[in-house]
């Protein structure tokens, strides 16, 4: 009797500890569509999609940090920018030295005294660059996370400080015209680790590189979400003090999530540079940093695939609307923030179970209860939608 009881528990439990089957089907479908997309898209659109995928890397990290951890960072642009600028510096230096060049990026001779600043020099080395891209942002995130979370300051304070950090970072980049390109940023790259960037075959390979990185990030983040770390993170979000009294340091848990999100954002920024061919302060300032959150919120901040899907949708919408109807797009973007956050805190993902229930009711099929039960545990309810759980 006891044996069968625990077997039942174990079986049920396995369903909780991992994304549901429908999530995996959706994941496979997404991977398939993105893998086949280059067959039907022209070169320009392949580049665009790769760019959107780079943005979605930031969203994936935010899904864990904000959705599961309840930590609202308004400063992911800092990490996107760090990864991007480190990569861009390396590519500038490599381009300038290629084919017997002077070794000095063109804009430096244009605006400055024609000397490469000392802090650029390490990034001549590809190895240093590839190490710095993950390490530097993780250190920055760790420093801010440790300083803020250890002192148990309010969650809102962290959001404000992360925003101040990104504002200061953008100002720094704009101010240092001769060494960072100022508000023009860094652009006009020709090569990427020895490959010619405007070669169509290389462009396609770059797309697949980006896609593989996104899929790996999704898998890793999904596993983290459903791992014991993910469960503790959720517990910290909901009842931080109880977690502390069980012997955890909630600050370390939150810092770890922040560092992880910074890592993903930095890789996103680093891949963004060869894909988009430019990085400038306008890609990483206060406003773009908050816009990253819109896709996450839209797709479902605490779900497995919501952040990446939402982020892609927002990017596509922005791309097709913002140049044709700039004014309309601004209103739409503002309205989306209000409507999604206020009325749909769980994102579009929370609509799925209710649509499923509604369809069952319409078709009159039995077994509706079991279905809603599964989705209840599968899509972890929202932090903020505390009203959902009755006391």
């Amino acid at each position: 009797m006891k044996k069968t009881m625990s077997a039942v528990i174990a079986r049920r439990d396995r369903r909780v500890a991992g994304p549901g089957r429908s999530s995996w089907i959706l994941f496979a479908a997404l991977a398939m569509v993105l893998a086949l997309a280059p067959m039907v898209l022209n070169q320009f659109n392949i580049g665009l999609l790769a760019k959107f995928l780079c943005y979605s890397m930031v969203a994936i990290g935010l899904g864990l940090l904000w959705g599961r951890g309840g930590v609202l960072s308004l400063g992911q642009g800092v990490f996107f920018g760090l990864g991007g600028y480190i990569m861009a510096m390396h590519m500038q230096l490599a381009d300038a030295s290629a084919n017997g060049g002077s070794g000095v990026p063109e804009f430096m001779s244009l605006y400055g005294n024609g000397h490469v600043p000392g802090w650029w020099l390490p990034f001549r080395s590809g190895v240093v660059t590839l190490i710095a891209i993950p390490v530097v942002p993780m250190l920055v995130a760790w420093a801010l996370g440790a300083a803020v979370f250890k002192r148990r300051v309010k969650g809102a304070y962290f959001s404000i400080l992360s925003q101040a950090l990104v504002a200061a970072f953008a100002l720094l980049l704009i101010g240092a015209q001769t060494s960072t390109g100022g508000s023009n940023g860094l652009s006009d790259f020709t090569g990427f680790f020895g490959y010619v960037l405007n070669d169509p075959v290389n462009q396609r390979s770059l797309y697949y590189l980006v896609l593989i990185v996104v899929l790996v990030m999704l898998l890793a983040t999904g596993l983290l979400m459903y791992s014991r770390f993910g469960e503790v993170l959720l517990a910290v979000r909901d009842t931080e003090e109880r977690v502390r009294f069980l012997g955890y340091d909630p600050a370390s848990i939150k810092t770890a999530a922040f560092v992880y999100a910074a890592l993903l954002a930095s890789i996103g920024g680093a891949l963004f540079v060869p894909v988009a061919g430019i990085i400038s302060p306008s890609d990483i300032g206060v406003t773009p940093s908050i816009i990253f959150l819109l896709g996450v919120a839209l797709g479902g901040r605490s779900t497995f695939l919501g952040p990446v899907l939402g982020s892609l949708i927002v990017s596509i919408a922005q791309n097709s609307l913002s140049s044709a109807f700039p004014s309309f797009w601004s209103y739409l973007e503002g309205a989306l923030f209000i409507v999604v956050i206020a009325l749909l805190p769980g994102g579009v993902a929370t609509l799925v179970p209710s649509i499923r229930r509604w369809r069952r009711r319409v078709s009159g099929a039995p077994g509706a209860r079991g279905g809603s039960r599964a989705s209840q545990t599968d899509a972890v309810p929202e932090a903020s939608a505390g009203e959902l759980v009755s006391r």
Binding site: L234, R242, Y248, P381
Partner: protein, 255 residues
């Protein structure tokens, strides 16, 4: 992260409080209290509102600053953080049961189980319910609710789950803040039995207002009033004590 070794099996567990004072500004919530609580029995801490009972638990678990000394098993707890004290083996529950409402009972217990472990153990997926958690589910009587969200449990079940979490965290000193408040008679009985079951080789201290519950289950009692220890002893000794009668009578008249 400093490593705090948890207490060992069979170690002296006694909680010793000496000259403890907790001040909130000019108000002394606890005023120069000495107290010793040993293992293997149910120790009750009673007293009228504002006697300093909860504050005493807060001080032991590192939540409020104090002067004086508190030691567990011979180790002073001052200067230790809340989480280090928990890792050392001191667990507590709260007046309103505090569980992770949006996670299942098993998830709640599993989080507690891993509190003092190496961080790398957090990077694993739970493939099955750990044996220790099944044991605890039996002890706290929630085996049939293993997969339910903690938020939908009844008030009493949440209290039991919280006690289970403290057990899962391998606490050797367990401090319970009004565990039976708001429970039905049957639930009180079950809670008392539960506390009896867990008290061997542990220190279990219960802050309680419910005098019937205290009379029924207490092995030893400390009465506090206005931040000081009024009297200590067995249930019979306490009931016979004139001071205690006055204190409670006084409260009863004031109400």
């Amino acid at each position: 992260m400093t490593k705090i070794a948890a207490m060992e099996e069979g170690q002296d567990l006694a909680v010793r409080v000496k000259g403890l004072t907790v001040a909130f500004g000019a108000f002394h919530a606890i005023d120069d209290v000495d107290l010793e609580v040993g293992g293997n029995h149910l120790h009750f801490l009673i007293g009228p509102n504002g006697a300093g009972k909860t504050t005493l638990i807060d001080a032991i678990t590192g939540l409020v600053p104090y002067t004086g000394t508190i030691s567990v098993g011979g180790r002073a707890l001052a200067r230790m953080t809340v989480q280090d004290i928990a890792r050392f083996g001191v667990g507590r529950t709260f007046q309103t049961a505090t569980v992770f409402e949006r996670q299942t009972v098993v998830q709640n217990l599993d989080i507690a189980l891993r509190g003092g472990r190496h961080w790398a153990s957090l990077l694993t997926l739970r493939r099955e319910v750990p044996e220790r958690i099944e044991e605890i589910l039996e002890i706290i009587g929630l085996a049939g609710h293993a997969d339910e969200l903690a938020g939908v449990l009844s008030h009493g079940q949440k209290q039991w789950l919280e006690i289970g979490m403290v057990l899962a965290a391998n606490a050797r000193v367990i401090l319970l803040d009004e565990p039976v408040a708001g429970m039905t008679l049957d639930e009180r009985e079950a809670t008392g039995e539960l506390l009896r079951r867990i008290c061997p080789d542990r220190v279990v201290m219960v802050v309680e207002h419910d005098m019937d519950f205290m009379r029924r289950f207490a092995d030893a009692v400390t009465v506090m009033s206005r931040g000081q220890v009024l009297v200590e002893g067995s249930v019979e000794q306490i009931q016979a004590n004139q001071q205690v009668q006055d204190t409670y009578l006084g409260v009863a008249e004031a109400v």
